[in-house]
């Protein structure tokens, strides 16, 4: 049995970072995720593992510190919430353009603008479709429990270093603030200088030794022909992620006539809605995307011969529903149900939306 605790999602992000051998965290306070940096400051990992924790002067500085640390081949991360992620967008596209690994945590709150500090899922487009400029993609992981907040820190670092691409944990204020039972990961040592050179010596800026050419961490190429070739390489990488890294969970789908598609907090609400609907005799299941990019398009398509309608549930005005519709391509009706601006839907509302949309009630 591992180390089992009752912890807040945000605190678990901090603890998981220390335990997975993270080298550096660079952040700026913003509600509802400030516990991540606060927990790190209390834990003082610099004394335990040597991990560096810096409170930056802005989200912009924090993400650029991440760029510097990632350039050194280190495991580095930042966290923020929606308005802060908008500020980090510049640094995120530079990370993608320079093919640097890093972990970015977004504990989403309602927007637009300063919005609210309450939970929302209205940053799906920003996380999955872009956010910054240029043709790039993030690996996006959507935890639906405090346990997954723990697990996805290590997974996020693993995938970002595997593909040399930034990864994002797209969570929300519900998962960040709620306490749940969690089995913490075992401690892993930080990589040594020798391990970093062995792993990333072809690109990491660890100091140019006589046995190699200088390493340059850049996203600049003024030659358009070369820039297009580079973009082809990025696209090939994203296709490989779609091939190998799709993750999802199916709940009560075997006999389902209808399907909820929902991630994160909304998936938790849908689980309760399934119980309520089934008490009424409505057979509904849940497909929960765990990776939002790459998206479980094929998994949705495999349900099309079986279900009569799909309800995409998201705490937004309807963002992920566009990807569900692209997957379904008109073969069955797809509708969206969402509350937003910081309001969390109840399971009853979700069942009601299912009935109204598909059962003529």
């Amino acid at each position: 049995m591992g180390d089992i605790r009752l912890m807040k999602g945000n605190e678990v992000i901090a603890e998981a970072a220390i335990r997975c051998g993270c080298d550096g965290y660079f952040g700026y306070p913003i509600t509802p995720q400030s516990e991540i940096m606060e927990t790190l400051m209390i834990r003082r990992p610099e004394l335990e593992t040597g991990m560096v924790v810096v409170q930056a002067e802005s989200e912009v500085a924090a993400i650029n510190m991440v760029y510097g640390g990632a350039s050194c081949g280190k495991k580095v991360m930042t966290s923020s919430s929606s308005p802060g992620i908008s500020l980090k967008a510049e640094g995120i596209t530079y990370l993608a353009g320079a093919e640097l690994p890093a972990l970015i945590v977004n504990i989403v709150r309602g927007g637009p603008g300063l919005g609210t500090i309450q939970p929302a899922q209205s940053d799906y487009f920003q996380a999955v479709k872009g956010g910054g400029h240029g043709d790039y993609k993030l690996i996006v992981l959507a935890p639906a429990s405090v346990q997954e907040m723990n697990d996805f820190v290590d997974l996020g670092f693993e995938l970002s270093h595997k593909y040399l691409n930034p990864a994002m944990i797209l969570s929300d204020g519900v998962i960040g603030q709620m306490m749940e039972k969690v089995e913490l990961s075992e401690f892993k040592p930080r990589w040594t200088e020798e391990e970093i050179i062995a792993k990333s010596g072809t690109w990491a800026t660890t100091g140019k030794t006589a046995d190699r050419e200088r390493n340059i961490s850049t996203s600049l190429d003024l030659d358009s022909a070369k820039q297009e070739v580079f973009n082809h390489k990025l696209q090939a990488k994203y296709r490989a992620m779609e091939e190998n890294e799709v993750r999802f969970e199916k709940i009560d789908c075997d006999d389902a006539d209808y399907l909820f598609v929902a991630y994160g907090s909304s998936a938790r609400i849908c689980q309760k809605a399934i119980e309520l609907a089934r008490e009424k005799g409505i057979k509904v299941g849940l497909l929960r995307p765990i990776t939002l990019f790459p998206y479980p398009t094929k998994a949705i398509q495999e349900m099309l011969g079986q279900v009569k309608g799909i309800l995409s549930v998201e705490m937004s005005a309807g963002q992920m529903v566009e990807d569900v519709r692209l997957a379904v391509n008109g073969k069955v009706p797809v509708e969206h149900y969402g509350r937003y601006g910081g309001i969390i839907p109840t399971p009853d509302e979700v069942v009601e939306a299912l009935e109204q949309n598909f059962l003529g009630e």
Binding site: D23, G24, F26, V52, V54, A56, E57, S58, V60, A61, A62, N64, M65, V66, Y67, G68, G69, S71, C72, K74, V76, E90, G91, Y94, A98, T205, T206, G207, K208, T209, A210, R214, N215, I216, S217, T218, S219, L220
Partner: protein, 257 residues
């Protein structure tokens, strides 16, 4: 003996009194004639060579004319987003404390868009060296007004001369950062004469030595020219710099602790 043979005899190892440092690569520089960047690059490369720290030095280049500095010095480089070089250098220096980390930034990069990053890196006293090349104009984008543009100076975006009542006043970055307890060494140098380059090299060495001793940030401003942006010949540019830049941005060490 023909002239060629005579020349070949002179070019021999025992007669070498000066040679280009191997830290400075042979790539053709993209800088305009009369630009100060090339001289400053060479001075930094020579000090890195003389101190024997090539394998332990990481440079961070900005956005601006010196964005491509990584093509000229044979060390590892990170290329930063506009103004953010001190943030990259902060993380690099903290995660690899045995390395010599420097930023190389122009006036638009450091004094305008990157004002927050440089102020806070200085305030935290990061163990890095900052090279701030001040030529009072945006070079790369075609000669627009910078925060350091002098009053009355004509640029592409101050075509009738900088009007300080509407555009603010030329910012003295060295004086500002020297006020912060985190800065250890703040100096303003130039590179228009051999004597000035020798002084500059001394400052560069002191900066890297401070890094080694974990003595906080060293801020080295170099007042330079931009012949293309100023629309003057290289010779005229040096005269203009001495007559107009040096009185407002006086050379010399502001702080050395």
């Amino acid at each position: 003996m023909t002239a060629t043979t005579e020349l070949k005899n002179i070019i021999s190892e025992e007669n070498v009194v000066y040679k280009k440092t191997s830290v400075l690569l042979d790539n053709e520089m993209h800088y305009c004639p009369g630009c100060t960047h090339g001289v400053i690059h060479k001075a930094i490369a020579e000090v890195i060579d003389e101190m024997g720290i090539q394998e332990k030095t990481v440079g961070v280049s900005p956005v601006g004319c010196s964005v491509l500095a990584y093509n000229y010095l044979d060390i590892d480089w990170q290329q930063a987003a506009h103004g953010r070089a001190p943030a990259l250098a902060t993380a690099t220096s903290r995660l690899m404390p045995d390395k010599y980390v420097f930023t190389y930034q122009g006036d638009g990069d450091l004094a305008s868009i990157g004002c927050a990053e440089i102020m806070h890196a200085c305030n935290r006293g990061e163990s890095i060296v900052v090279f701030f090349v001040n030529n009072a104009i945006y070079g790369m984008t075609g000669g627009q007004m910078a925060p350091t543009t002098l009053e009355g100076q004509v640029t592409a975006t101050s075509p009738y001369g900088r009007d300080c009542h509407t555009t603010g006043f030329p910012m003295k970055m060295s004086e500002m950062v020297a006020m912060l307890p985190g800065t250890r060494f703040v100096t303003r140098e130039s590179a228009e004469t051999p004597g000035a380059v020798r002084k500059l090299k001394k400052a560069i060495r002191k900066g890297f030595e401070n890094t080694r001793e974990d003595k906080g940030i060293s801020f080295i401003e170099i007042v330079g020219t931009c012949s293309s942006g100023w629309k003057m010949s290289p010779v005229q540019s040096n005269v203009w710099m001495k007559e107009n830049m040096f009185p407002y941005y006086p050379l010399g060490t502001l702080k050395d602790e």
